[in-house]
């Protein structure tokens, strides 16, 4: 060492490892318009596919005439279910154990359903040809209400054998899919029946849609010479897509290469397998040419991946002092025409049974009835982990309703029921083991930050002024304390189509001390190329700037289950750390040889192994990497590589405390977010800048959902919100500034203690916004009004409460 040697602090700084707000490496290409999204993929001779879609929500398909379409110059093929049937591809399995029509097989069950697939030389011709396909429909009775579906004589799914069990047990009616239960039903009912105080409410979480700015699409290229299929697409789980494509097509898995290029936002929309993917593959096999399929926005909103649509009937009981004694919930879940919900196989209602929230509730029961209707299939986790958003909204509304019933402050009610710090790991009444938490600290920090007592005083004065006729604006204080469950998940109980939900990382250290790491996940904007390199930098001592992260190519990346449900950091992030530790273990042996000491005489220091008690004797990771490739080291294989497949022992449980302060104009129904404070605890923080960005984005999606966004149907099953004219996405004008904050309670079972954050703000944000609306009207007796709280609905609420004189 000489005087020019960097200090320890400088070496740490240079790594840009854990905790660094490292700027994103992805941004160079994105800011210059050089991203590579699926619609940017262009291949010689590529054809374009487009769907003929059903204008009806329920109808028999009597005939399809493709003659006029085929006669149009430039049209290569028109596929219908009859063409797919010999290949057994006219139906496909869903992630939820049901099956779904790829192309209409005798009938259609929702508006926008895929009826025929036109393949043409360009997009314009394909769209023209869709208009020329003549389909003769016979309309059938339409059901868009799940409660009506369970009473109706109309059989929606004629393909299912009457009386036979479904994938999740007995079906009690021809439009019923499953009843899924958790917890102790009788014990819960007994507690509630004999409780001092009971609050009961129907909480509806409306149907909405993830609506990433890039729609879904794929390009299939069947190389008949080599027997290889290459498939580019908007896949949040490319490896699973490869397996499914192999099982469905019969092409051996080594002959299929799936590539997720840059993805323009996912939010759950790109988890499922859609008819467009299947049809592009079949069309490429049939024509021998590459075939591209790209949804338009209306296709996207009508046909792929709705979210929510849960009717949650709740009962919560407490002592007079406000200690919660029991929680009962029955959900009527509208799954649409096919049960295509994207959940781990054994969880048909996802992780909805996290619905005891942040509270120590001794006994609870949940029952979920899945129901078929004439709506689009989907049921994806829109920026949440498998129905966790529904659960958080449910419990946070029930707490507010209970607070009204008790005539108690809702912040205080939460405080006296929080799971205490010393109760972790905490066994919930519905079967989860919460890994870690410190809810009281987070709550106090949040309430102090917004001057909660001052806000309540101001609100009281506002109500008084309103009653005196001095103002027409009310003040709402929306509180939320949420607990998420993310990082699915342990292979023992979590799988997708039989594939255990582990994830993976493979690292290669190059001779000159830089590295490439490949993961089984795929970023859709989360910045994996930036943050996973930071994990590795801290584990291996190689600066993040010298590490390339690659994902999404199944020919090169190790198998993984993909990115959704905030699972990348909890699962693939853990695999990355573990693979990094394997690198370090081998590096230690090499360093010991080079320094002529025993392994045990070395200790790790930032980016090097140092001889204990002799700090001037060390080998840096760069020196060790070089030695791994140019020296024969006895008992050690050449090279420096590692792979880790990580099966998490438990989920992680991020939490947060949010406060939304909202002004509401009683006469116009307009709202203004005056303040939004978001405290998130996602365990160890990898990149604070990226975390803050995730929180801003998730809160804005929550704002959209709570305040205006919905997939609405009329009674005939027509989608009323099929374009961005009707489907609300907030602009910069409607979106407030947010204040972010944090506490840091590491996960005890994760190698670096990280829990995941991408979805927290959506899970916590929706109840915070909605509770603010309800809270504004609390003084006038409002218990529950359904989202989305658009201007009209807020005006109507005020009107129903008699506030318009």
């Amino acid at each position: 060492m000489n005087d020019m040697s960097p200090t320890r602090e400088e070496r740490v700084e240079k790594l840009k490892g854990l905790g660094s707000s490292r700027k994103r490496v992805e941004d160079a290409r994105f800011t210059q318009g050089k991203g590579n999204y699926v619609d940017d993929v262009k291949l010689p001779g590529m054809l374009h596919g487009d769907f003929v879609r059903s204008p009806y929500a329920h109808a028999r398909v009597k005939s399809i005439n493709i003659d006029a379409a085929m006669a149009l110059p430039g049209v290569i093929a028109v596929l219908t279910a009859k063409d797919l049937e010999p290949l057994s591809l006219h139906w496909m399995p869903t992630l939820a154990g049901d099956k779904q029509m790829v192309l209409a097989d005798g009938k259609v069950l929702f508006q926008g359903q895929e009826v025929a697939f036109v393949v043409a030389e360009d997009r314009y011709i394909a769209a023209d040809a869709c208009e020329l396909v003549e389909v003769d429909y016979e309309e059938l009775p339409v059901i868009v209400d799940p409660f009506e579906a369970l009473e109706s004589d109309t059989v929606l799914r004629e393909d299912l054998e009457a009386g036979a069990d479904g994938a999740h047990g007995p079906r009690k009616h021809h439009n019923h899919i499953f009843l899924w239960e958790e917890g102790e039903k009788e014990a819960t009912e007994q507690v509630i029946d004999s409780a001092e105080v009971v609050a009961e409410e129907m909480v509806y979480y409306h149907r909405t849609h993830p609506c990433p700015l890039e729609t879904c699409g794929s390009v299939a290229s069947m190389d008949k010479v080599n027997g290889k299929l290459t498939l580019w697409g908007t896949f949040q789980a490319p490896h699973v897509v490869r397996t499914v494509a192999s099982l469905l097509s019969g092409i051996e898995e080594h002959n299929i290469r799936v590539i997720s290029p840059d993805i323009g936002g996912g939010f759950g929309n790109k988890v499922g397998v859609y008819p467009g993917y299947v049809c592009s593959i079949v069309a490429s096999i049939v024509t021998g040419q590459p075939v591209k399929w790209i949804e338009d926005r209306m296709d996207n909103l009508m046909a792929t991946a709705f979210a929510r649509d849960y009717w949650m009937k709740g009962k919560i009981s407490a002592t007079k002092e406000g200690k919660i004694t029991g929680l009962h919930c029955h959900v009527t879940a509208d799954h649409g025409a096919f049960d295509a919900c994207a959940d781990p196989t054994k969880f048909p209602a996802g992780f909805f049974h996290i619905c005891t929230g942040s509270y120590d509730i001794p006994v609870a029961y949940v029952g979920v009835d899945g129901v078929y209707t004439n709506k689009a299939p989907g049921g994806v986790a829109y920026r949440c982990s498998f129905r966790v958003t529904e659960a958080a909204y449910f419990i946070e509304r029930m707490i507010e309703v209970l607070a009204m019933e008790l005539n108690m402050d809702a912040a205080e009610l939460r405080r006296i029921n929080f799971i205490k710090k010393d109760q972790f790991p905490y066994q919930s009444a519905l079967g989860w083991e919460f890994d870690s938490g410190d809810y009281h600290t987070a709550w106090d920090k949040a309430l102090d930050a917004v001057d909660y007592a001052g806000l309540r005083k101001e609100q009281e004065e506002r109500v008084a002024a309103f009653k005196r006729g001095e103002t027409r604006k009310l003040l709402g204080i929306g509180l939320t304390h949420f607990t998420e469950i993310v990082g699915a998940g342990p292979v023992k109980n979590c799988d997708i189509l039989g594939m255990g939900m582990f994830d993976s990382c493979e690292i290669r250290i190059h001779p000159t001390g830089s590295a490439v790491a490949r993961l089984g996940t795929i970023s859709q904007g989360q910045g994996h190329a930036t943050t996973f390199a930071q994990i590795l930098a801290s584990e291996t001592g190689i600066p993040a700037d010298s590490i390339t992260i690659e994902e999404g190519d199944t020919d090169t990346a190790p198998y993984g289950l993909g990115t959704y449900g905030s699972r990348s950091t909890p699962v693939a992030g853990a695999a990355t750390a573990m693979a990094g530790r394997k690198i370090r273990a081998k590096a230690q042996m090499i360093a010991a040889y080079l320094l002529e000491v025993h392994d045990n005489d070395l200790e790790w220091d930032v980016d090097r192994f140092v001889v204990k008690g002799a700090p001037e004797r060390f080998k840096t990771m760069a020196e060790i990497a070089y030695a791994a490739y140019n020296q024969a080291i006895p008992g050690v294989e050449p090279g420096l590589e590692a792979v880790s497949y990580y099966d998490p022992p438990n989920m992680t449980y991020p939490f947060g405390a949010y406060v939304c302060v909202m002004e509401i104009d009683v006469d116009t129904g307009e709202h203004e977010i005056r303040q939004f404070y978001a405290l998130d605890d996602c365990g160890t923080r990898i990149n604070p800048m990226v975390i803050e960005g995730q929180v801003h984005g998730g809160l804005t999606e929550a704002l959209a959902i709570a305040m205006g966004q919905e997939i609405a149907y009329d009674k005939l099953g027509n989608v009323k919100t099929g374009t961005l004219m009707d489907f609300f996405l907030p602009t910069a004008w409607e979106t407030p500034n947010y204040t972010t904050d944090f506490t840091e309670t590491p996960s005890p079972h994760h190698p670096i203690g990280a829990k995941g954050v991408g979805e927290s703000p959506n899970v916590g944000g929706v109840p915070a916004f909605s509770n603010a609306v309800h809270d504004a009207f609390r003084a006038f007796g409002l218990r529950q009004s359904h989202m989305p709280h658009d201007h009209w609905r807020i005006w109507k609420t005020a009107n129903d409460l008699g506030l318009h004189g």
Binding site: E214, G525, A732
Partner: protein, 163 residues
Amino acid sequence: MSKMHIKLTVNGKEEELLAEPRELLIYVLRERLNLTGPHVGCETSHCGACTVEMNGKSVKSCTVLAAQANGAEITTIEGLGTPDELHVLQKMFKEHHGLQCGYCTPGMITRAHRLLQENPNPSEEEVRFGMAGNLCRCTGYQNIVKSIMAAAAEMNSAKEAAE
């Protein structure tokens, strides 16, 4: 369908091509000229992912016919900055984490570029209003606004230094 002869100046380069009268400008840019920076997000003018500059104005190229653009000067994201010398907006979007998935970013930066031509010293409110034709699903806009404000400040101080 018979094709039209169309001349455009795109990012300073003269282009001549044949296009059907119904072809949209975004299609011509992406498919015929291989400028895939501008994206399609909605086809209805709402999202702004396809934003380009046409004769000094921001337009949504998904609802402009190529025929309407005949003779026009077009600037796309590919015309702002170079890999060796990024435009200050490109630098500031990176510096302030003004993007995530990147899909809206080319339209967003192209629109911000025009906004700052129209109003070199905007207030936060003016930025939010001036950017309201461009949707982002990832960032919640806070850092986009920050990026644009920072770019304006830097452009103004560079201008002052030059004067």
